[in-house]
């Protein structure tokens, strides 16, 4: 049992325990950050697996993602702070069964399969390798990821934002003018003066 073995089992226990806490806590903020801790434990394991870049990058990516997760959890869950205890589950037994089955199946596969053994050599410049790969062989993957992310960005904006071509969110939707810069067609805007300044914030 080396030091790194002990660390590995500690972090594994941490990852699994915090993952379990995610579904057992009433406070949505705590749930989000429990998930974050689970990711951090996995990140620590990645560091042990001689992936220095991936490990630390996981920490910062997940810190940000779980922060956003917490914002949305609080926004859309009733009783977000868990002031009253709650249990919002359905098909509970089936889910437990599925979870256990998945664990058993994957675990059995891991135990029974003859796994390859070829550890990464110590001192291998893994970050540099990754960079070269990105710019060379996997350039297409890299640029495709860019396009995919762009599509995601556009999709999220379209789906989540209320504003559109016809004015800012805080002005309510308004039909375009009949002539450029003219009065909106249909109905007159209400209480225009109160909110006009928000349009001027962007700049």
């Amino acid at each position: 049992m080396t030091l790194s073995d002990i660390a590995f089992w500690l972090f594994s226990a941490g990852a699994v325990w915090t993952a379990w806490r995610v579904f057992r806590t009433d406070s949505m903020v705590r749930a989000s950050f429990a998930l974050m801790l689970s990711f951090f434990c996995v990140a620590a394991i990645l560091l042990l697996l001689s992936a220095p870049y991936l490990g630390i990058a996981t920490i910062f990516m997940m810190a940000v993602e779980m922060m956003v997760m917490a914002l949305f959890m609080v926004m859309f869950m009733m009783n977000p702070a868990g002031l009253n205890p709650m249990m919002m589950v359905h098909q509970h037994k089936v889910s437990i069964g599925a979870g256990v089955a998945a664990f058993a199946g994957l675990g059995a596969a891991a135990l029974l399969t003859d796994l390859p053994h070829h550890a990464v050599a110590a001192g291998k410049p893994v970050i540099r390798d990754l960079g070269t790969e990105l710019l060379g062989g996997s350039m297409l993957i890299f640029e495709t990821a860019g396009i995919t992310l762009l599509a995601t960005m556009v999709a999220t904006v379209v789906l989540s934002s209320r504003s559109g071509r016809f004015g800012a969110a805080d002005e309510g939707s308004r039909p375009p003018g009949l002539e450029p810069g003219g009065k909106p067609a249909g109905r007159a805007p209400e209480r225009d003066s109160d909110h006009s300044h928000h349009a001027e914030h962007g700049g």
């Binding site: 990852a15 990516m61 993602e65 199946g105 891991a110 291998k124 390798d129 999709a155 789906l159």
Partner: protein
């Protein structure tokens, strides 16, 4: 720290994630389950890369792609939740009573 041990831990994470994804009623909690599953996948990918295959650069790229999938899943998922929440409210004529439950 063998590859088998790592796969076992990843299986546990995936199992818990699957339980969450199937059992949670609310959409946002369901997404937490999905994230957990991807967490396990990430561990498997890096485990294989590091202990099984001797560190080919593409293995790391795969891990990054898993993370990108996570980010995209989350972004689009939450955008959908927002859109649905807004829409449902607009559809509900009686107003807030139905929203509370």
């Amino acid at each position: 720290m063998t590859l088998t041990a790592i796969l076992l831990v990843a299986a546990a994470l995936i199992g818990i994630g699957l339980y969450g994804a199937l059992s949670q009623q609310s959409f946002v909690m369901l997404m937490m389950g999905l994230e957990l599953i991807l967490n396990g996948v990430l561990l498997i990918a890096v485990g294989f890369w590091s202990l099984g295959l001797g560190g080919p650069p593409r293995g790391q790229l795969l891990a990054i792609v898993v993370m990108a999938v996570m980010a995209i899943e989350m972004a689009v998922g939450f955008a959908l939740v927002t859109a649905v929440y807004r829409k449902r409210q607009a559809d509900t004529t009686e107003g807030l009573e139905t929203m509370k439950h």
